[in-house]
Symmetry: C2
Subunit: 154 residues, 2 copies
Amino acid sequence: MLKLSRLADYAIVILVKLGEQDGVVTSPALAAITGVPEPTVAKVLKVLSAHGFVLSQRGAKGGYRLARSLADMSVASVIAAVDGQIALTACVGGRECDTGLSCGLCGSWDVINTAIRSTLEGISLESMRPKEACSTVLSQINKLNATHTVREGA
Amino acid sequence: MLKLSRLADYAIVILVKLGEQDGVVTSPALAAITGVPEPTVAKVLKVLSAHGFVLSQRGAKGGYRLARSLADMSVASVIAAVDGQIALTACVGGRECDTGLSCGLCGSWDVINTAIRSTLEGISLESMRPKEACSTVLSQINKLNATHTVREGA
DNA sequence: CCGAAACAGGACCATTCAGGTCTTTAATTA
DNA sequence: TAATTAAAGACCTGAATGGTCCTGTTTCGG
């Protein structure tokens, strides 16, 4: 169903959330914020660090912070970093697919791949940040779920 | 890596190839033409038939033929038929993802999903048909691979 | 100077799901 | 009536993703 890998999904969520914090944030803290299991957060962060999306600081009081603004990160670049090249099919670049040579659609896929890629490149992480109206709904849901623990500002 | 399922890939190839034949074509014949294993071809054709892309004729001298012109089939519709709804993530329609409620990107994904979908809807199967120059290259490759069996026109 | 905290970089397992095969049934035609 | 072919669905297998854990290495604080 043309779905994104969950890791890439997490990566985007984590980056957006990280952008909303100030100072360095530890991976356990990010796990708490996003709800993603800690080891997975750490794994994603490592990849993002290797690809220059976040800067890491080791040692006690270490953590992560964004390497650049969310507006300077495209959805495409994040997906490519986590999942590898964005391509719908195996036969890219005019090469033949592995079904033999009878496909005959050689090159036609490139049109699609390019279209998808440019679509995703045009969307920045900044534009993924929750909108106001949406945040309101979210906080309400959060309140519902936090009923027996904390009741902040209500 | 944001890849298409192989079944959807096959479906498109099969439809394009089917459009180049005249009269009804059996699935074994299509398997021979496309190089895709016969049972898989049959499986894909069944799905395509159920979704109205091809018309089936049972019994002896039966087979499949296109239900409408290739120009009237979008890549998006074929993918949707074989793989289900085209959506990058689980959280569509403003619903929250299953990581809990902390995603907070509610609705943002819809922008991406819609963009991808409309991109794919704008590409017809007709435009996937091999171009002349490309066919030439293909036939050359075919000749190379058929060296020890048949040498047609060379 | 030592210990705790936190990232780095792997290896590793387990689950899921897509891909593919097979069998049976029903329909059509010669 | 017999042969051919699609329809439908059960079932198996293998790859890959997702997730966990372990062992270093670095840095800060006491």
